[in-house]
């Protein structure tokens, strides 16, 4: 579905990372972990075609992505940015409809079909009651879900989420992770970055540990999220504790 081959990425005159290779199948969830400045956001933005490739290849369904026009990329990959305070009081519905732009002609306005897609997406995320609320007046967690809805309205095969749980309270973090799992079960591939390694255990089949722009480890969360890798990644002492009934959690040890 998505194949990344020896990618070097970064800004026009500044390479941030290199030698990143991985594949992601349909319905798979991969979690990108790494300290601040390790290149997580830069990597995700490169995968969306928002930054130029320096080296390597990105293949969408076997096709070289660099030949895709913007609209094609937008129909393949949806972007969920970190939620920010919006400038204008668009309704949630109108914001979600903006996700339809890759399916609309330059001079078109959303038609009945686009409204149906928007309504269906809002319904699937359980936020239909928010449809007429201004995005400036909903909570941060609701806004994050609205951004997910906008990306889903693109009808993408791949969802790229930049720290979708950042600045959310505990309950909203769990709700977003539940949505991630549910969307993947519906066949969408998901790539998300986070600062909490537990999120990889909870919602991802694969984890990519990124340190200074290079892959430190890549595999299932169980394989790669260990005390030694986390210590190399974050330079703090961590225990990875097995939980009753399966699962693991990470506990930092304070000095």
């Amino acid at each position: 579905m998505l194949a990344v081959d020896s990618l070097a990425f970064g800004y026009p005159r500044h390479t941030v990372g290199r030698d990143v290779s991985f594949t992601l199948g349909a319905g798979e969830v991969m979690c990108v972990l790494g300290p601040n400045g390790s290149g997580k956001t830069t990597l995700l933005r490169t995968l969306l075609g928002l930054l130029p490739l320096h080296e390597g290849k990105i293949l969408f369904n076997g096709k070289d992505f660099s030949s895709f026009p913007r609209r094609e990329i937008a129909r393949f990959a949806g972007y969920v940015p970190q939620a920010h305070q919006p400038y204008f009081a668009y309704s949630v519905r109108d914001m979600v409809l903006m996700g339809r732009s890759a399916h609309l002609g330059t001079f078109s306005t959303p038609a009945a079909h686009d409204r149906e897609v928007a309504a269906r997406v809002l319904e699937s995320l359980g936020i239909s009651p928010l449809a007429d609320r201004p995005v400036t007046e909903i909570s941060a967690g609701e806004r994050q879900l609205a951004l997910v809805a906008r990306a889903l309205a693109q009808e993408p095969r791949l969802l790229v989420m930049d720290e979708p749980t950042a600045s959310l309270d505990f309950g909203n973090q769990v709700r977003v992770l539940e949505r991630i799992a549910a969307l993947a079960a519906g066949g969408i591939s998901i790539l998300f970055s986070t600062h909490d390694p537990d999120h990889a255990f909870l919602a991802a089949q694969r984890a990519l540990l990124l340190a200074e722009g290079r892959v430190l480890a890549l595999g299932t969360p169980r394989e790669v999220i260990r005390a030694d890798t986390l210590e190399r990644l974050y330079h703090v002492a961590v225990q990875v504790v097995p939980l009753e009934g399966g699962g693991h959690t990470c506990l930092p040890a304070l000095k």
Binding site: R71, Y79, P81, Y87, F88, A89, F107, P134, T136
Partner: protein, 333 residues
């Protein structure tokens, strides 16, 4: 099922609200047009039909049309700029169109050109200033493109303003200087049908792309990365929309001189009524802008013995009105 009904219900309330706002604004504009044609220094009576015809069609008619055209154009441009620059405090002047037009007009007046040439140079100066700002702004790499654009606009505007001030000191203080001063304050007193016939098509030419792109323009209110991830090309779209809005503003400023506040105030009022969606905002803002300037201009020529410059009156009325709207709108625009 319930949700579907609720969605339909909400959507239709919004539609009714929008239709009502448009209808009221349109009716208000029509009433103002009639009023503006009837009032003035020369008393009208039905017994003297030829005179009535002359006054209404040849004197007040063009001025009424000019007020509506200039008001609508400035409001449309303000709506565009505020949206795409993601800044509620900008007016159509932000990218230098007014200061460029002022420089063009002042140069023409210093060279003792006729009034028509003053307007041509004002129009050209407005377009050239924005082109310069866009060119410099898009070359300042490594900054947020909008910040670079606004900053360049402010800097170039200040520079052009300084040149205008410099030229004023060279002007003949008895003939040219008063003319320059009055042009800079704005006036609709001398707009002729011929000038209208040139300015109106230019303004409409600017409006057409805005009307066609009315939905897509909304994407420019998002950060560039998000708009691109949605499949848009914000750089190209922004250039097109700025060009269209600038054409409208330059056409307006060329025939009216500099009339401030409409482009800042009216988009706010319209957004408060129908929300930020550009497709609904644009027509309402244009109607309100036309009505506002027509009301101000009628007041200016009919209220006192000496004609007041409308640019001054829009500011006198506009500033308290703006603060009131600002208080009403709180956090959201």
């Amino acid at each position: 099922m319930y949700l579907g009904v609720a969605a339909f219900f909400f959507d239709s309330i919004e539609r009714i609200r929008y239709a009502a706002a448009l209808a009221i604004a349109f009716a208000g504009l029509l009433a103002l047009v009639v009023l503006a044609l009837l009032v003035g220094r020369y008393p009208l009576s039905l017994s003297d039909l030829p005179m009535l015809k002359t006054v209404v069609l040849e004197i007040r008619g063009p001025r009424v049309l000019a007020a509506a055209l200039v008001g609508a154009s400035l409001a449309a441009a303000g709506t565009v700029y505020q949206g795409i620059l993601r800044n509620p405090l900008v007016s159509p002047d932000i990218l230098g169109v007014s200061s460029g037009a002022a420089l063009g007009a002042v140069v023409a007046m210093l060279l003792s050109m006729n009034f028509f040439m003053v307007q041509i140079l004002a129009f050209a100066g407005g377009l050239a200033a924005v082109a310069l700002v866009y060119w410099i702004g898009s070359r300042l790499r490594g900054h947020d493109p909008l910040l670079a654009l606004v900053l360049t606009g402010v800097v170039v505007g200040t520079l052009l303003g300084a040149v205008v001030s410099l030229l004023k000191t060279l002007a003949d203080p008895l003939g040219q200087l008063p003319a320059i001063t009055f042009w800079l304050l704005g006036s609709l007193a001398s707009v002729s049908p011929r000038e209208l016939a040139i300015a109106a098509p230019l303004a409409i030419a600017g409006l057409i792309p805005l009307a066609l792109l009315r939905w897509r323009v909304n994407l420019l209110t998002l950060p560039d990365d998000e708009a691109r991830a949605l499949g848009a090309d914000p750089g190209r779209l922004r250039l097109l929309v700025i060009a269209a809005a600038t054409l409208m503003t330059a056409a307006a400023v060329a025939i009216s001189g500099i009339i401030g506040w409409i482009g800042l105030l009216v988009p706010h009022a319209a957004r408060l009524l129908v929300g930020p969606g550009f497709g609904r905002l644009l027509p309402l803002a244009m109607l309100l802008g036309a009505a506002f300037l027509l009301a101000v201009d009628t007041l200016c020529r009919a209220a006192t013995a000496v004609e007041l410059p409308p640019g001054v009156v829009t500011a006198l009325i506009g500033t308290p009105l703006f603060l009131w709207l600002f208080a009403l709108s709180r956090r959201s625009w």
